[in-house]
Symmetry: C2
Subunit: 197 residues, 2 copies
DNA sequence: TGTTAAAACAAACAGTCGTTTGTTTTCTAT
DNA sequence: ATAGAAAACAAACGACTGTTTGTTTTAACA
């Protein structure tokens, strides 16, 4: 028996947050399909049915994780970019922030990259919209670059963002840091371009 | 054939091929987890249990599809590269072949990109080995390039291959062709040489 | 033709899935 | 102290999962 607890206990929805954190971690570790509601429940120490008090469905849980993921990575990116003036430096800061968040810092953000909208057909459109909302930022960053006429900005963005996102497939902790990886990528890009200036 | 041989019936197993084709199509359309043995069975018109005469397990079915996928994409790439002499042109031919195969031509090859080794933990190592076996080719292609010293060949490869593979996420039929996409990517990278032609 | 192996069927196994329902506990506010 | 909401439990629902088993059909060879 515990002593009589005098803590007022704010009765805030704190297990909801715990639930989200755990779902984000499991979704990024094993993917959406390979993570069951029972996995999540037992990881937070509650029964599977209890999750449905906090979230209407597994899909809704994913959407919430996704939204939080986009919010977090966007926040980090905006902060990083705000510190730079020169367009290439802004892009580099963005790439570093993106990779750090997506490879290391945030389970939420990792889910946004790892779990594709098609994995949850019923909420596909909402997930895709959240993704797009984030990727918009790269359009602006690329638009600000001073580039030779023959460089297609559309494909420069797809090239860079594709390489960054795919790095989740081969990245292993202990090798080059996300910052280093981002810098190398931009060196390859900017280096080849810059040699003719 | 088997004229006067006493060996038992050849009985070529043609439904095995049909089974593989169907599995490849469904795996690339919906992913590995979202495709059930019953889906595959009903698509070829047999009962779920009958698949197990041809394949020991769902995982083994995936491995076979994967192996075939690597074989097909490697074949196309080698043929494409063989027709070119200049290193950058070889790389371009390789990227075009890669994208065409992975976006359009082969369900098998698409599975190799779409289904990650982690999706089937029991055969993860074998799937990863098959992938690596293919990606080796890009190491050679990048090694042959004449590049400024500050360009890291390792990251050039990862940049390019990542962008190519990720294109599966955003590619839609009706837009730019795989050939065009590959060319635009390389133009971004190698703008100067591309300009000279 | 009869024999034999290949290849399919038919039916179930044991388990997991997301989810729902009814009840009980836990805490806050009165 | 007690009412009432919040948040959990306990147990099951029906559907679906990969797979196994025993039996039957199909087709090539003697």
């Amino acid at each position: 028996m515990a002593a009589h607890s005098t803590t007022p206990a704010p009765r805030q929805d704190n297990r909801r947050q715990q639930l989200l954190d755990t779902a984000a971690r499991l979704f990024r570790q094993h993917g959406y399909h390979a993570t069951s509601m029972r996995d999540i429940a037992s990881a937070v120490g509650m029964l599977p049915g209890s999750i449905y008090y906090h979230f209407a469905s597994k899909d809704e849980l994913l959407v919430t994780v996704y939204r939080e993921g986009v919010s977090r990575i966007a926040e980090r990116l905006d902060a990083a970019v705000a510190g730079k003036k020169e367009p290439w430096q802004q892009l580099e800061a963005a790439c570093i922030a993106h990779l750090q968040t997506v490879l290391d810092h945030s389970d939420y953000a990792q889910v946004v990259i790892r779990v594709l909208p098609d994995d949850a057909p019923a909420v596909r459109v909402r997930l895709a919209a959240l993704r797009d909302q984030y990727e918009e930022r790269f359009k602006d960053l690329v638009a600000a670059l001073d580039l030779p006429a023959y460089v297609d900005r559309h494909y420069l963005r797809l090239l860079l963002l594709g390489a960054l996102n795919w790095s989740q497939v081969w990245y292993r902790r202990g090798g080059d840091s996300p910052r280093t990886i981002a810098k190398r990528f931009l060196q390859v890009l900017h280096g080849i371009q810059a040699q003719q200036r």
